[in-house]
């Protein structure tokens, strides 16, 4: 097992945390469940929102996040995604931006 969680695993953990809270969760709960730093969580949430896995809801008590159909599909097919990416050498690296 990898010591460091890869991106797919982290995305899975975040989406699972949202799903486990009946599809709606506060950011502090995601932070607690996903075991990420605040900065890392912000980056991941931004990515998941832009890619349509999560949607942000503004309420009187603050922001909440809910999972989309695409997010549910990701959780359902997570094992297949990991298998394919591992088998064909397509894991997302720590990127070097140029």
């Amino acid at each position: 097992m990898n010591k460091k969680r890869d991106r797919l695993q982290i995305v899975h953990d975040i989406l699972k945390a949202v799903q486990d809270k009946n599809g709606r969760i506060k950011p502090t709960h995601i932070l607690y469940k996903s075991n990420l730093s605040h900065q890392m969580l912000d980056e991941y949430l931004g990515e998941l929102l832009s890619k349509g896995f999560l949607i942000e809801n503004s309420t009187k008590t603050g922001k909440t996040y809910s999972i989309t159909q695409k997010g549910f599909e990701y959780l359902q097919k997570y094992r297949t995604i990991v298998d394919f990416i591992d088998s064909f050498g397509l894991s997302e690296p720590e990127e070097r931006r140029i």
């Binding site: 297949t80 298998d83 070097r96 140029i98």
Partner: protein
């Protein structure tokens, strides 16, 4: 190419086009589900490779069929040689785009500039050579070496049979590529051997995909229960 092999190569190229298309479709499906960049590049690369084989098969079919002369007159092409040259250029360009995309994926950088530089450098070089086919095999060998290094590192870190299959497939493709070079300068039999190597390589890639699919089917009931 030996005369007796004409026709067989069309069948093989159609088979390669089909295998690479299936892999591409599956990779696009993974990209749609995961929104990861690597499967997108992989799918795009295999789509171009599939198109390259398809174009090559169609062009060879035109050349050997009786339709050939009609097509030539319709497009006012002087001879079969011109048709073959056009087919070869389409094949070279499409396959090169596929390999450059695959190589860019293995470089693990996020830069449109790097991708464009690679692509332009490779494609523009074909305009300034009298032997585009030789240059193509030389450049594709170089790109394949980079791809093999990526899959070697992947295998050493994962130590899985699937990773080994991909490493073996690309190593065999490189071996096939060397035989294509030998077939230009040496004997015709190398052209047949090269196709044989390519066949093994694409079957290994297909086997890898089948193993992933089988694993998906095995795990499906468990995930449903959960």
């Amino acid at each position: 190419m030996p005369g007796w092999f004409l026709g067989y190569d069309i069948v093989l190229h159609l088979l390669f086009a089909l295998v690479t298309l299936i892999v591409s479709i599956f990779a696009f499906r993974i990209y749609r589900l995961s929104a990861q960049r690597q499967p997108k590049f992989f799918a795009t690369a295999f789509l171009f490779i599939s198109m390259a084989y398809l174009v090559n098969a169609i062009m060879h079919f035109f050349i050997i069929s009786k339709l050939n002369e009609n097509v030539c007159s319709a497009f006012k092409l002087a001879s079969v040689a011109v048709l073959e040259l056009i087919g070869a250029y389409f094949y070279i360009v499409l396959f090169s785009i596929g390999l450059v995309t695959l190589t860019y994926m293995t470089l693990r950088v996020r830069s449109v500039k790097v991708y464009c530089l690679l692509l332009i450098t490779v494609l523009i070089s074909f305009l300034f050579t009298a032997e585009p086919l030789q240059l193509y095999h030389l450049l594709s060998s170089l790109l394949l070496v980079y791809i093999i290094i990526h899959y070697l590192i992947n295998f050493l870190s994962k130590k899985k049979i699937n990773a080994l299959l991909m490493l073996a497939a690309f190593a065999i493709l490189l071996l096939g590529n060397f035989h294509f070079i030998f077939s230009i300068t040496g004997g015709e039999e190398y052209y047949v051997i090269a196709h044989f190597f390519d066949l093994i390589a694409y079957l290994l890639i297909l086997l890898n995909l089948i193993l992933v699919q089988r694993h998906e089917q095995k795990t499906r009931p468990t995930s449903n229960r959960a």
